[in-house]
């Protein structure tokens, strides 16, 4: 069922010239009373997301308080699971989702090629977003970003003992102590595995696989395993979950290794077949509004591309961190290799 779609998609990329309709992004739009009224008439918006469920539900709450009468149905799963689900649904003609968001940039290239997205550009995005962080054709834009970080429990590991670099993690003193998320489930970890395999080579992962690491699925989970005290050190995991746990008073510290920290960008888009097109349009514009982005930063610990967002003082600003960027176009053909190698070295 997917194969056809996939091979068609590959063909489509081959014919580099995009259809005329996509040549240019549509004119930016603002939230008008007409849009609001039309959205209210639909009464509901369905949001497929990979953001941590508590953060996504908080955002939904803010939306409902701003636009009463429109319910938000939050469907949270890992990026790769969201991708799998929308693929299953669309291949069988089911159009449930209005707005979609995952932390794997490859997905949005894929959706775009499939022609599943409705191009639209909220005014806020047109005015304030860096050009790198939005699709030139207006299909999607970077709704959030976060790093995949090393972190440790300060009560279970002394600062002096904590790793400083990726290579440090291979030290025998960390054996049995680490937890790590899975690239087959998490878009963040897929991205970070890709950039690290390019930077450090696969033999790095081969050695890391011998450290007896606890394997979890979502990149939201390693920080939670640290909070539980199940493991003392996370190899990867969402920076924003760690921020949230630190805010709750958990004794956790982040390490930004010398070699660099992988960045995952979470794009959002409105689907062409959205069952509630007006509510979707409204919600999409809301996602990029300063209020929503500030909430993502304050409550969610997410990084924002909105220049007006003020980060909490105790967080290291992105400008001071060496960041490892990923190129979705190069990542896509590597996915099967990454999965196969990962299973070889980590068992699952």
């Amino acid at each position: 069922m997917w194969k056809k779609a996939l091979s068609a998609a590959l063909l489509a990329t081959g014919l580099a010239a995009a259809p005329a309709a996509w040549a240019e992004a549509p004119a930016p739009y603002q939230i008008t009373p007409e849009l609001e009224a039309a959205a209210k008439a639909e009464g509901k918006v369905v949001f497929y997301t990979a953001t941590d469920v508590a953060v996504a539900e908080k955002l939904a709450e803010l939306f409902k308080s701003k636009y009463p009468g429109i319910a938000v149905q939050v469907e949270r799963a890992g990026s790769e699971r969201v991708f799998q689900r929308i693929g299953q649904e669309y291949s069988t003609g089911i159009y449930n989702a209005d707005v979609i968001e995952t932390s794997d940039a490859v997905h949005f290239e894929y959706f775009k090629r499939q022609g599943w997205l409705a191009p639209m550009v909220p005014q806020e995005v047109a005015d304030k977003w860096p050009a790198d962080e939005r699709d030139p054709d207006g299909n999607f834009a970077a709704y959030r970003a976060h790093l995949s970080v090393i972190a440790y429990r300060t009560d279970l590991m002394k600062d002096a003992d904590a790793p400083k670099t990726w290579e440090d993690l291979l030290d025998p003193r960390f054996k049995d102590k680490m937890v790590k998320a899975h690239p087959g489930y998490s878009g963040t970890v897929m991205t970070s595995t890709f950039v690290l395999s390019q930077l450090l080579g696969w033999d790095y992962f081969e050695k890391l696989g011998k450290q007896n690491i606890m394997q979890v699925q979502s990149s939201t989970e390693p920080p939670k395993k640290l909070a539980q005290g199940e493991r003392a050190l996370e190899v990867d995991g969402n920076e924003y979950n760690v921020f949230r746990l630190i805010d709750e008073g958990k004794p956790i510290k982040i390490v930004y290794p010398d070699e660099g920290t992988p960045l995952a960008v979470g794009n959002a888009a409105v689907l062409k077949q959205a069952p509630n097109p007006n509510a979707a349009k409204l919600f999409y514009a809301f996602l990029f509004s300063l209020d929503a982005q500030q909430l993502n930063s304050d409550f969610g610990g997410l990084r924002s591309f909105h220049p007006g967002v003020k980060e909490k003082a105790d967080r290291t600003p992105l400008a001071k961190i060496k960041i490892l960027h990923s190129d979705p176009e190069k990542l896509e053909p590597e996915i099967p290799t990454i999965k196969a190698n990962y299973e070889k070295y980590f068992g699952t």
Binding site: Q84, Q215, Q217
Partner: protein, 577 residues
Amino acid sequence: MTSDIQVQALPVQGRRRGIDFSWPTFALLTLVLSVLVLLPLFWLVYYSFRSDTGAGATLANYIALVADPTLLRAYGLAIGMALAVGVLACLIATPMAWLVARTDLPGRRTIRMLVTASFVTPPFLGAIAYEILAAPNSGIVNIIYRSVFGLEASEYLVNIYTFSGLVFAIACFTFPYVFTLVANALDKVPSDLEDASSILGGKSMTTLRKVTIPLVLPAMLAGTLIAILQALTMFGSPAILALPAGFHVITTKIWSLFQFPPRLGLAAAAALPLLIITVILLRAQKSILGRKGYTVLGGKSGTPRITELGPWKWPAIAFVFCVLSLTIILPYLAIIKTAFTGTVGDPINLSTLTLSHWRFVLFEFSATQLALRNTFLLGFLTATAVTAIALIVSYLVIRRSVPGSGFLGVLATAPVAIPGIVLGVGLFLSYANPTFQLYGTIWILLIAFMTIELPAGYQQMSSAFSGVHPELEEAGRIVGASRLRTLWDITAPLLRTSVVAAWCFVFVGTIRELSATILLTTANTKLVSVIIYDLNESGDLGAICVLGIILLAASFAVVFVANRVPVLGGSQMNTRG
């Protein structure tokens, strides 16, 4: 004189008016079961010969099956795990069933109720409870162990993220299959056979060995078989416990083949050996038991005999208490504790107690209500449909009333061989196309659940049927009632307990199903099991425990009510055990 006339009149009436519905029923059921069972299997076989890269027909998938070490390893581990679970479950359940059904052990009724509780617990929830209890560092048991003996932070007593941990956690929540079947069989062993043994000079152990155990052996084997098959095809517990440990069993391996880019052909090929293994197991069971007759419930038999434990009472109590603590008391305490404290590792005191997880699940998490409603609606529909079908099918098969009815039994048992996750794919391929468009509705889930639960319902009903002597039905037939009428008026009431038990089995089975569900749900057809699994993958244990408590409370309520409604034979249940 009047009675004579009636007796004469009845057969005439019966022959004139009553059409024997056996044939149409048989035809209809064959059709329904074929569609339920064969259609997904057809697609499975079809896809196993298709190349994943779109190159047409191929044997590459089967070659990969024997050449790919990761698949072989997953198979080896899954088979080892299932056998270990079967043996462990049988070893725990059989003595317990005997103690509860045939001895003067105090609190027998409560024990039965608690075992039912362990059956109602979805295995994935049990697995999560054991994560909370026995994770090497944050596990409550290990924390206590370290603080009691003053050990280093790296020391631990038990580690659930291991192969043996996985076997243990699955056995804890599959042993009720064996227990329930054996205990019910023991209830039905008539005292006259045992009396005969005693009268002929057999000591109580001899009677147990030569009469009682052989009579319940079918139930023991059937229960163990169910436990083995459950373990082999289980997805949730291995996904929760085996993946963190860094190994795949076959179900999780197949599931991983669906991640993007999906490898449907390989997944289908990888699933087919499971089918073959199961068929072999079922045949083995048949050849062991095939020729012996086990009619134990005739029209005339005494009540079961009770053995006095005497000095063995205390060891027996200790044994039962130990089993119950491991399977119910500790896991439930862990779940309750986690639902009311901030994170798993927190100690219990006033400052850590919180209702934040409850607030989140009940008021902030938007999927809760919809999922609860879907879950219980599907539970009711599936349980009712499956029990009805299983009742009729097992009647037709056991009484051989229609030639070729054995085929129906095969059809009704076949789904047991299809792992839920594979059935999910088969159904997805069968019904998620423009012709049917059932994907995204609850109907595809209903079909999935009916197919999955049919074997369990059928096993229950047919083992109950084989215990009812045909003489009672023959009496009905002699006075002129049609087959269906006899079934309804005579057999069904005799089987009331079994019917209610089967209904509850299926209901609970539906509630705890996860593996097929996970591929078949969409945003609007969410089930509680799926949102629990989603939450587990993101590590939200507190919210899971709250949902788990709600799910369990509701399931208990349903099972309790089903067992108390007088029409459904509640009184019968109460007199026993």
